[in-house]
């Protein structure tokens, strides 16, 4: 009976119910999408680093997890010294430069030969590998995002690059140019941001790391697997703060909309509450009925929000193919729980107000 009462009350005012459901759906979608966007970007970046196939990364001591922001302080000749070490199969320097004109992208300056040795080369979807100083390789997602075709000119750093090959995504970056040309353009001639080291066997990684640390005691030397595990939002305090702030904002929206919705519901149903009291309904029953209605509305909103998240993701990927939005069951459940808790908090005051209504006054309410 209570279920029927709650269900029918919810659909007695379909527009108000729809607005409440939408508010919860947007709240859930915001949480899932924002967390998914940050996690997705981090994970996608980490996967691309893993996709190179290197075992060890050597960086300046001042480097952060965001490799593109490190600059290029290391002499490129360090690669030769690392190559001489035992169990080192190949070493490839890379110069990473951040570009903000026409978008936000990280340009990878690589030595095609050594990069091929470390990574087993690119999977070419169209065209050929880099040969000339102005050749550029671009991955398929970037090509789609920027509407770039084979043979197009791609201007970066006031220099016209020629797109000679489109490669499969998932390896290092999205845009590759010769390291020597890039170094000359950005004033980092013969410099590198990172050295990618391939060991003769993966189980030699620790030995090689020890040797490199002895050779370069002031540099940061870490296995690629460790870098992968660090690329989560929990390891980036500022990102965690951002996520928490966005979740708080989303919850506030949901809470306020539910509060307003239930407040007007209680006001509109003043006489109904009087009737229930005249029938002998306890305060507990009245509160349970209102909170049950809120929970049901919230559940509808949660499912709508999950669907909306997938729709938003599809929309984003259509507009921005290089974006990665990771939707996980864990965060879908968390978003749902956050929504329910926020909604119940928002509905609790109106529910308590309902119990405090004088029955006689409530019955006379128009």
């Amino acid at each position: 009976m209570m279920g029927q009462f709650v269900w029918r009350n919810l659909f007695h005012r379909p527009v108000r119910t729809l607005i409440g459901v939408l508010a919860i759906a947007v709240e859930v979608m915001l949480v899932i999408t924002i967390v998914g966007l940050t996690s997705g970007m981090l994970q996608e970046t980490a996967k691309r680093i893993e996709g190179i196939g290197a075992d060890i990364m050597v960086q300046p001591n001042s480097s952060t997890m965001f490799i593109g922001f490190t600059g290029a302080p290391m002499p490129i000749k360090i690669a030769d010294k690392i190559q001489e070490l035992k169990y080192v199969a190949s070493v490839s320097p890379a110069l990473l430069q951040f570009n903000t004109s026409g978008g936000v992208e990280t340009i990878w300056g690589i030595d095609p030969v050594s990069f091929r040795q470390v990574s087993n080369g690119f999977v070419l979807l169209e065209g050929r590998d880099m040969q000339g100083p102005d050749d550029m390789l671009i991955d398929d997602w970037q090509a789609k995002a920027k509407h770039v075709k084979l043979g197009d000119t791609y201007p970066i750093f006031n220099h016209d690059w020629k797109v000679v090959g489109i490669v499969e995504h998932g390896k290092a970056g999205r845009i590759f140019v010769p390291i020597s040309t890039l170094g000359a353009l950005v004033g980092a001639h013969d410099k590198a941001t990172i050295f990618l080291v391939k060991c003769t066997r993966p189980d030699h990684t620790d030995d090689v790391m020890a040797e490199i640390k002895e050779l370069l005691p002031t540099n940061k030397v870490q296995p690629v697997k460790e870098y992968m595990s660090l690329m989560t939002s929990t390891n980036i305090p500022a990102l965690q703060t951002f996520i928490h702030a966005m979740i708080a904002l989303a919850v506030s929206i949901g809470l306020l909309v539910i509060f307003l919705s239930m407040y007007t519901t209680v006001l509109e149903r003043t006489r109904d509450i009087g009737v229930l009291k005249s029938l002998g309904a306890s305060n507990g029953l009245i509160v349970r009925a209102l909170l049950a209605e809120t929970t049901l509305l919230c559940l509808l909103g949660i499912f709508a929000g999950m669907g909306l998240s997938y729709a938003v993701r599809a929309g984003f990927l259509k507009l921005f193919p290089t974006l990665s939005i990771l939707i996980t069951p864990e965060w879908m459940i968390k978003a749902g729980l956050i929504a329910i808790i926020g909604a119940l908090v928002g509905a609790s005051y109106p529910a308590l107000q309902a119990t405090r209504k004088d029955a006689v006054e409530a019955l006379a309410y128009d």
Binding site: M1, M2, Q4, F5, R8, N9, F11, H12, R271, D272, G274, V275, L276, K277, S278, L279, G280, A281, S282, N283, L285, A359, V360, L363
Partner: protein, 248 residues
């Protein structure tokens, strides 16, 4: 104190008639109800005394503002008397907490209102069934069938209040009020919003509930013709009962 009623036995011998004491189902003793309008105290009831026996049908009449509705709400536990005693089936409502009055109302009192006060989202069946749910015994299909049949509601149970006439809505309200077999049925001008024909139907229903099922009924009315359906008419003025005579 109970009222002494003389019951004559069927004995063929010359024996003394057997006397039985019948306690009133409702006893209102010197009840005052004061409302506060800012700093001003407005007495709605001023020392009201009223006894109602089980199975009695009592009509309460009086001009607007004389305290009829206040008396009804105090008897029904929806409002608390400021002073005095209100004994419903032996339970003094004045000494009870709000929760205790709610519990008593759930099991012993049924209300019928002038404006029907049905829940708009529920069907007629839902409006009646919710009273059973609140009572705590769950849906009793047999009792439900008996009551709805008696009130002629069989064909209207799936309709919502907005789809029913005033008379039908009031019959649903009566069904809701009596579904849990309350000790007292309190009716606040149940025919106030009805036309003559539907008023007669509703009054006849209340009369049958009283005569056929022994339901105790206390009804507020402005309608002098309604008093013909009742055993006793009580007149109120300015918060007091001025007289209470048997109906003609």
């Amino acid at each position: 104190m109970g009222i002494t009623v003389t019951i004559r036995t069927n004995s063929t011998e010359n024996t003394e008639p057997e006397l039985k004491t019948v306690e009133p189902i409702l006893k209102v003793e010197n009840v005052w109800k004061l409302y506060h309008a800012g700093k001003v105290e407005v007495p709605a009831l001023r020392g009201v005394n009223l006894d109602v026996l089980p199975g009695e049908a009592v009509a309460v009449m009086g001009p607007s503002g004389c305290g009829k509705s206040s008396l009804l709400y105090v008897i029904g536990g929806l409002a608390k008397a400021s002073r005095g005693k209100v004994l419903v089936d032996g339970n003094d409502l004045v000494t009870m907490t709000d929760g205790e009055r709610t519990k008593l109302r759930r099991s012993k009192i049924g209300f019928v209102f002038q404006r029907f006060n049905l829940l708009p989202a529920l069907s007629a069946k839902g409006n009646i069934a919710i009273a059973q749910y609140i009572h705590g015994d769950g849906f009793d299909p047999h009792r439900f069938e008996v009551v709805t049949k008696m009130l002629g509601l069989e064909g209207r149970l799936s309709h919502r209040p907005a789809e029913m006439s005033g008379g039908e809505q009031q019959r649903v309200a009566i069904a809701r009020a009596i579904i849990n077999e309350p000790k007292i049925l309190l009716a606040d001008e149940p025919t106030g919003n009805l036309d003559t024909k539907n008023s007669e139907i509703v009054l006849e229903m209340l009369r049958r509930l009283n005569k056929d099922l022994g339901q105790t009924v206390v009804m507020i009315t402005h309608n002098p013709e309604a008093t013909t359906y009742f055993d006793r008419v009580v007149h109120m003025r300015d918060g007091v009962i001025v007289d209470g005579v048997p109906a003609d």
